[in-house]
Amino acid sequence: MNCDRELEVWRAVDSRHWPERCDEELRAHVAACADCADVVEVASALSEEHAAAMRSAHVPASGAVWWRTQLRVRLDAARTARRAMYMIQAAVVVAALAIVAAIGGFAWVPGVLMNVKWNVPLIVALAAPLALAPVALYFAVTED
């Protein structure tokens, strides 16, 4: 199915040695071998096409690609952080509602709320962690 000399023939075509600078024996082999004749046909055409494509390739400068890559990495990191923040905020809201429900539900229990002296510092101390949790999480998960 495959001839052992295909690589040799491809190298001759790719290095532009085919057919003039190849020895007679290789040319005779290609004339007699259908596989190698196919290699010559295909490799000659694709090698020309490759050279043309390489000439017409106008790729952006490496610095620009690096800069865009870094920008996207940062944007992705920010998106990931935002997603985590939304999830935590949702969890905080659920927790707050649960606390309110629990307090409401057990408010009748003597000694639970009656013994607590509700004042501003106590309320701030209880509310602050809930308010600051998303901010703390943002700084914890962001890459920068």
Binding site: M1, N2, V42, A43, L46, S47, E49, P60
Partner: protein
């Protein structure tokens, strides 16, 4: 002992981080210098590959940027050059497949051989015969299956080995050999004006 301490003193923090990441089996992202050097070596072949397998130079421009972004995120910094290159071509191939699927879903079109109709392609510097030959190869490539185009381009335009093609296309070496044989025979017949 002295030599060891000198080496230790010259070891920078990034070196230590790399060493630690390497020992842990993890990898750090490529630094700018390495990335840019690798890009300069590979961007044109990747663009040529993308433009030939998608048949669209504009799309090749977009996919090129995306391929390098994904390659950077893949963090293949500790692999050798050959694996790194194959990994990049594998990413480019997958992107081309995805864009092909999207295009087929969006509008039921056949992949063109290139942006322009081959008959309208300008003759740049070559002779009329060479231009005609290039028209023939573009038309013939357009009639092949995407996988055949990819395989033939990698093998005969870029000179990739069967192992490298297998790594890029996610096939076994044996499959590559058999599929490449069939694709080559088909293209050769088309170029000779034989059976399609």
């Amino acid at each position: 002992m002295d030599v060891f301490s000198i080496v230790m003193r010259e070891t920078t923090l990034p070196d230590l981080e790399r060493q630690a990441a390497s020992e842990a089996g993890a990898s750090l992202p490529m630094d700018e210098e390495t990335f840019r050097a690798f890009y300069d070596r590979t961007a044109r072949p990747v663009w040529a590959y993308l433009s030939k397998i998608t048949g669209d130079t504009q799309l090749a421009d977009d996919l090129l940027q995306e391929a390098y972004y994904r390659f950077y995120r893949a963090r293949t910094v500790y692999e050798d050059e050959s694996h790194r290159r194959n990994s990049l071509f594998r990413i480019a191939t997958n992107l081309a497949h995805d864009s092909g699927r999207r295009r087929r879903r969006g509008r039921d079109v056949e992949l063109p051989g290139d942006d322009a109709d081959p008959k309208d392609l300008p003759v740049d510097a070559g002779t009329a015969d060479r231009a005609a030959a290039r028209t023939d190869i573009r038309r013939a490539l357009a009639q092949l299956k995407p996988s055949q185009r990819e395989m033939l381009w990698l093998a005969y335009a870029q000179g990739s080995s069967h192992e490298e093609i297998a790594e890029v296309l996610g096939l076994t070496r044996g499959s590559v050999k058999a599929l490449l044989f069939r694709a080559r025979r088909k293209l050769a017949d088309m170029l000779r004006g034989g059976p399609k």
